[in-house]
């Protein structure tokens, strides 16, 4: 299709065209993607190879001090007069060796088995009293093993830097110049290397508080850490992809994890679509109504709707939960009005009723946010667009679809995507409203309204299937990442083609 044809399409046709094009281009894009990954790894490999080559070249070309600093970090620097820098390098080496000898090695050495000695009851040799004989603690071995590996990697980077620094100092001296003073290097950190100073702290905290736990959690998915292998009493060990195959294994008899996973994934996606789209549409409609010309007391209406945000979400959800009980306010009201005879179990009868209920309740907590976001944007749409549309004979519906909706979509697509992903992981609504009910004997530790994330919570908190939960977490991440990549891609193409001004 040529550009001129494309421009003449209406928004829906454009969307359809883009949608089709996405799948047509998918094989090519996938190929590109894998090529990119391949190239990335090739580049890394080349980089490492070059680094190693440089490492040896520096050794060969270095004088005796530089050569010695391959063993004793900072020796070369110190010999060339950079005493403080050399001392710092040495301090790092000593600290690292002390860490490994005193602490790290006893965990790292057991990292491949995660421990072999099981704890048990025995007799205290000193007092003859029964006591617990402490065996290996697989969890601590895993945790500190990862910590040691991370520290080793960081140390290795510093080590390479030290050899580089020694060689550089040697070259500077050979060129007849004075090696850089420590104070001037410190000054540099505030000047042309300021980015290093600024980023050091965030990088450190992110690695300690985010990356390290994440590696830990990811690795748990590859162990058999569950209620049958609870540390500190029992050991757990590596099982490779065993947990993942358990999720996808079809078993007879009991509720299989695969059936549960597939059913919950389906429901999670349905939920995310409905929760996002309904909140968006209704929020926008309400915002439009409030913004309409001739509506009086606009700010009052806006405030009224936004007041629901002022009540904490969990409070409204717990209240709703109480109101929807079999003898809660809503059932009593309906009964008093003579509409029903027996109470309706909104949250705990058939799957369909419960699912509809949670989707509708979610509108209550979600719509105010959409109103807030959209009413600002709606006020920004140039009024002359509507005026000229009216002059050309467009009714309110037509101008909504031709002007308002495209404009809104253009501006709020990133918001839509984030709220979609947010809804996939919308823990509060489900956990506080239904806790997964209605329950089913066909599911493993889950009910019909459980999302993957609430299932994950139950797996960790009630049955302590930590490995299963970690594996489910990884799968949820894959689902979220794929969906957001696809949607972001779609919007990008839309943005390139169509510019709204």
């Amino acid at each position: 299709m040529k550009y001129i044809d494309y421009v003449q399409l209406n928004p829906f046709q454009k969307f359809g065209y883009n949608f089709k094009q996405f799948f047509v281009k998918l094989p090519g894009n996938l190929k590109k993607f894998f090529c990119l990954i391949g190239r990335f790894f090739k580049r890394i490999g080349m980089g490492i190879g070059k680094g190693v080559a440089n490492y040896f070249t520096r050794f060969v070309k270095g004088d005796w001090a530089t050569k010695l600093s391959y063993l004793i970090m900072g020796f070369g620097n110190a010999a060339k007069g950079q005493v403080i820098k050399g001392l710092l390098f040495l301090l790092t080496e000593v600290a690292y060796i002390a860490y490994i000898v005193l602490f790290g090695w006893k965990y790292l050495s057991k990292f491949n088995t995660l421990g072999t000695v099981e704890s048990g009851f025995g007799v205290n040799p000193e007092t003859g009293r029964p006591m617990t004989i402490n065996g290996d603690n697989s969890m601590l071995i895993l945790l500190y093993g990862i910590l040691t590996i991370v520290i080793t990697v960081i140390f290795f980077v510093i080590y390479i830097a030290s050899t580089k620094s020694a060689y550089k100092a040697q070259q500077t001296v050979a060129a007849g110049k004075k090696p850089e003073k420590f104070s001037s290097e410190l000054k540099n950190l505030l000047d042309n290397r300021f980015h290093v100073t600024l980023l050091a702290f965030p990088t450190l905290t992110i690695s300690v508080f985010t990356i390290l736990p994440m590696i830990f959690m990811i690795l748990i998915a590859f162990t058999n850490y569950n209620y049958q292998h609870m540390a500190p009493g029992k050991l757990f060990t590596w099982v490779g992809f065993g947990t993942f195959s358990e999720i996808f294994k079809v078993t007879g008899g009991a509720a299989s994890k695969s059936a549960t996973f597939i059913e919950l994934t389906k429901w999670t996606i349905i939920w995310a679509i409905f929760a996002t789209v309904l909140n968006y549409i209704f929020g926008m409609i309400i915002a439009l109504m409030i913004n309409k010309k001739g509506i009086k007391l606009k700010s009052l209406w806006r405030t009224l709707f936004v007041v629901t945000i002022a009540v904490p979400q969990f409070v409204s959800l717990l209240l709703m939960n109480q109101m929807l009980q079999s003898y809660g306010a809503i059932n009593v009201l309906l009964k008093e009005l003579g509409i029903i005879q027996n109470p309706i179990l909104f949250l705990n009868s058939t799957p369909l009723v419960a699912r509809l209920t949670v989707i509708i309740i979610n509108c209550w907590v979600g719509i105010p946010y959409t109103i807030l976001i959209t009413s600002g944007i709606l006020m920004n749409i140039p009024a002359d667009l509507y005026e000229s549309a009216t002059i050309d004979g467009a009714g309110p519906v037509k101008s909504f679809f031709k002007i308002t909706l495209p404009y809104m979509l253009f501006v709020t697509t990133p918001y839509l995507i984030t709220s979609f992903i947010g809804n996939i992981n919308n823990f509060n609504v489900i956990y506080l409203l239904t806790d997964g009910a209605p329950y089913s004997e066909n599911f493993y530790q889950a009910g019909y309204t459980d999302l993957l994330v609430t299932w994950l919570f139950k797996l960790t908190m009630t049955t302590q299937d930590y490995n299963l939960a970690a594996a489910v977490g990884i799968l949820v991440f894959i689902v979220c990442a794929t969906l957001s990549l696809i949607t972001f891609n779609l919007t990008k193409s839309a943005k390139n083609e169509e510019e709204f001004s």
């Binding site: 049958q228 609870m230 500190p232 009493g233 009910a437």
Partner: protein
């Protein structure tokens, strides 16, 4: 000059690397002390005790009494609020920061035992503890023939509570009678059928029992007769369907809150022992309490079998003062302390002598619960996977829209058992 200095520093650095770390301090083991000392040489003792929030004062007072028994020792004990249900989980999370002596619900015993975080009862207390407590409570504290904890209470269960102005004592003997009386008065009967702790009665009444965990931690059951269990489930299901306007499944707190309304909307219910004080105050003279009623299964009145738990006192394996902790746990679980708690907190004792006391006998709720304990399955050796499938079973049995056909219930039972065993 500077060059020389630099070289000296460099050589010094070289030296530091090759100087080995000195040998660590030598450890002197504590010499064994006098054998007659119950503390075995421990002194300057600080202990932490976990007790439920409402009982902290009672426990603190009892701990003061304990300290007063040994004036020549320096002991300080701090009682910290910690619910019994979560005690085991919190202990497992961080045994170092947890209490030395802690109260917990007996269904967590296998978790603590498997993780090896509980110290068994010392030999010198074993015989005494076994003798003075009820056999069931000792069984609840024993795993693999090892007595692991001291029984604290014998009443962690539920019983029938009824409004005497609506349900007569005679009615209260059968579930059918209670429901009929409730219908006559247009009031509710409340129990929490959507909770495994209560809904297990649907299967237990048919002869199912728990038989601990096997080595892999999988739940085992006795050799029950499937048809009988299904017949029991069916009897409950049909009865609840017939009385669907009367029967309400709700949290146990609904029993007391429904009875507190004016006029009372709830006439009878199955309530937990921990609520007894509240209900008796709400009902006043109309307060009726009894063991669970019978239910008609295939023309025969059968006693409803409940799940019955015990609260235990355990000793953390990480405690710095194991001897004192054992001594304290023993003290806190003896007759005197159990009686005090029965008086102050209405906790039903496990101690045989305390059970016979007037304090307990005059408390109709406690007597009812202890009576029901004779028709119960002890809450020991339960896998974590037990509760969720049992909850599902309970929901399916009582809900009016679910089938009470034999075939459907049979399938439900089979799936529930398979889910619990995670096969």
């Amino acid at each position: 000059m500077k060059r020389i200095l630099a070289l000296i520093v460099a050589v010094l650095m070289l030296a530091t690397v090759f100087v080995g770390c000195g040998n660590g301090g030598n450890k002197e083991t504590a010499s064994s002390s006098a054998d007659n000392d119950p503390f075995h040489g421990e002194d300057n003792i600080t202990l932490k005790v976990w007790a439920p929030n409402e009982a902290v004062e009672t426990f603190q007072a009892q701990c003061e009494d304990f300290i007063a028994l040994y004036p020549d020792k320096k002991i300080s004990i701090e009682v910290v609020a910690q619910g019994e249900a979560d005690a085991a989980t919190n202990l497992l999370n961080d045994p170092d920061a947890a209490a030395d002596v802690f109260g917990f619900a007996c269904n967590n015993l296998n978790k603590l035992y498997n993780a090896g975080v509980i110290t068994p009862v010392y030999d010198e207390f074993k015989d005494d503890v076994t003798k003075r407590n009820s056999e069931e409570s000792i069984n609840a504290a024993t795993l693999d023939n090892t007595l692991l904890a001291y029984p604290e209470t014998g009443d962690n269960g539920y019983y029938l509570v009824y409004d005497k102005s609506v349900v007569s004592d005679e009615d209260a003997k059968t579930l059918e009678g209670i429901l009929a009386a409730c219908r006559k008065a247009g009031k509710k009967f409340v129990m929490d059928a959507g909770n495994g702790f209560y809904s297990c009665m649907f299967t237990f009444t048919g002869g199912m029992e728990l038989a601990g965990l096997n080595e892999e931690g999988t739940q085992q059951f006795n050799d029950y007769n499937e048809d009988e269990v299904v017949a029991s489930m069916q009897a409950f299901s049909k009865l609840f369907h017939e009385y669907k306007d009367i029967f309400e499944s709700a949290d146990v707190s609904k029993v007391s809150s429904g009875m507190a309304e004016d006029p009372r909307t709830v006439a009878a219910g199955i309530d937990g022992s921990w609520n007894a004080k509240v209900v008796s105050e709400v009902l006043g003279d109309d307060y009726g309490a009894a063991k669970l009623p019978t239910i008609n299964i295939g023309g025969k009145d059968t006693q409803i079998i409940s799940m019955h738990g015990y609260k235990l006192i355990g000793v953390n394996y990480k405690t710095k003062y194991p001897e004192t902790s054992q001594l304290l746990a023993n003290y806190l679980s003896d007759e005197k302390c159990q009686l005090e708690r029965a008086e102050e907190r209405s906790w039903g004792p496990s101690n045989l002598a305390a059970v016979e006391s007037d304090v307990v006998k005059n408390n109709i709720a406690t007597s009812a619960i202890l009576e029901q304990a004779k028709h119960s399955v002890a809450q020991v050796g339960i896998a974590d996977t037990f509760w969720d499938p049992m909850k599902t079973l309970g929901n399916k049995v009582y809900k009016p829209e679910e089938s009470s056909e034999t075939a459907a219930l049979k399938e439900l039972l089979a799936k529930t058992v398979a889910n619990i065993k995670d096969e």
